[in-house]
């Protein structure tokens, strides 16, 4: 007996194939009705449509969303729309939503190297104030502070100073303040508040000798600064006796804008 060249019944002219049912496939069934044979044709397309329930289209899907638990769970995991001050905090009253930049106070803290073997005023540490940190039209205050330390020796006064320059060099640097450690003093702190007027000048309290971190009242001094270039705060040590060793244990600045 030869293999029939059809798939299904009554259609020996169709090309047989394997794999999924195709819309062009055709099945014919025969039944006896009233003693006579009746052929009923069923196409592959009809069977596919009946099995899938038809194609779903967005907007045409019926039912309850929560019944689709995996989709509902995924939706529940999503964050609500951000509302400033409600489900997202503000920064100093500024909304974080949208584009743009919010300037925050800058600060930097550095540690210094030992200074010894010289009586010259020597840089122990420096802190970069990057170009354009200070901006025209935006006044701010720079709080600059140093903690000087007598590392060893007690033969002479150790002076700890702060300067500003456009390079890590004391040549031409602007003096900001100084503290002196007596021969029996181990630690001392010095601080200044520099007010940037947003127009190209910077002023600080006149230099004075401090024995604590209290601000020394005195005449205000004004210096100029170019905010478009890098500036450096320089923390220095001067040992009156070259055999002593001093350092800036910590130097820092904080900008309040």
């Amino acid at each position: 007996m030869s293999t029939p060249n059809w798939w299904g019944d009554w259609r020996p002219n169709l090309t047989p194939h394997t794999g999924n049912l195709q819309p062009t496939d055709l099945i014919e069934c025969t039944s006896i009705v009233g003693g006579a044979t009746v052929n009923t044709a069923i196409t592959g397309a009809q069977i596919i449509a009946a099995a899938s329930g038809g194609s779903a289209t967005w907007g045409g899907i019926t039912g309850t969303l929560s019944a689709q638990t995996d989709l509902q769970t995924a939706l529940n995991a999503k964050q609500d729309t951000l509302v400033s001050g409600t489900n997202i905090k503000t920064v100093n009253g500024n909304s974080l939503l949208g584009s743009g930049n919010i300037s925050l106070p800058s600060n930097k803290i550095v540690t210094g190297a030992n200074v010894t073997g010289t009586t010259a005023n020597t840089i122990s540490a420096n802190a970069l104030l990057p170009a354009n940190t200070l901006q025209l039209g935006k006044p701010c205050m720079i709080h600059i502070k140093a903690r000087g330390r007598r590392v060893s020796g007690g033969s002479g006064v150790i002076s700890c100073g702060m300067y500003r320059n456009t390079s890590v060099s004391l040549s031409g640097a602007t003096f900001l303040g100084q503290i002196q450690l007596t021969t029996s003093t181990t630690l001392g702190q010095l601080e200044r508040h520099l007010f940037w007027d947003g127009a190209g000048n910077i002023s600080n309290q006149f230099a004075g000798t401090l024995v604590s971190d209290m601000i020394n009242n005195g005449t205000y001094a004004t210096s100029v600064i170019n905010p478009a270039v890098d500036n450096y705060f320089l923390y220095t040590v001067t040992c009156a006796n070259a055999g002593d060793t001093g350092q800036i244990q910590y130097g820092l600045y904080i900008i309040y804008a």
Partner: protein, 50 residues
């Protein structure tokens, strides 16, 4: 006495006292703040010889 000098293209006018802070360094009070002048700057010799 010399009362002005230029360094790094900035002109300074000396307005106050000059303080010796080490063998090679001075504090010079100017119209642009107190400036550290050291022996690498031309003005240093003029100030110390004057």
């Amino acid at each position: 006495m010399l009362n002005t000098f230029t360094y790094n293209e900035i002109e300074y006018t000396i307005t106050g006292p000059i303080e010796v802070i080490s063998d090679t360094q001075l504090h010079v009070e100017t119209d642009k703040g107190i400036i550290l002048v050291d022996d690498t700057m031309d003005i240093y010799k003029e100030l110390t010889n004057g």
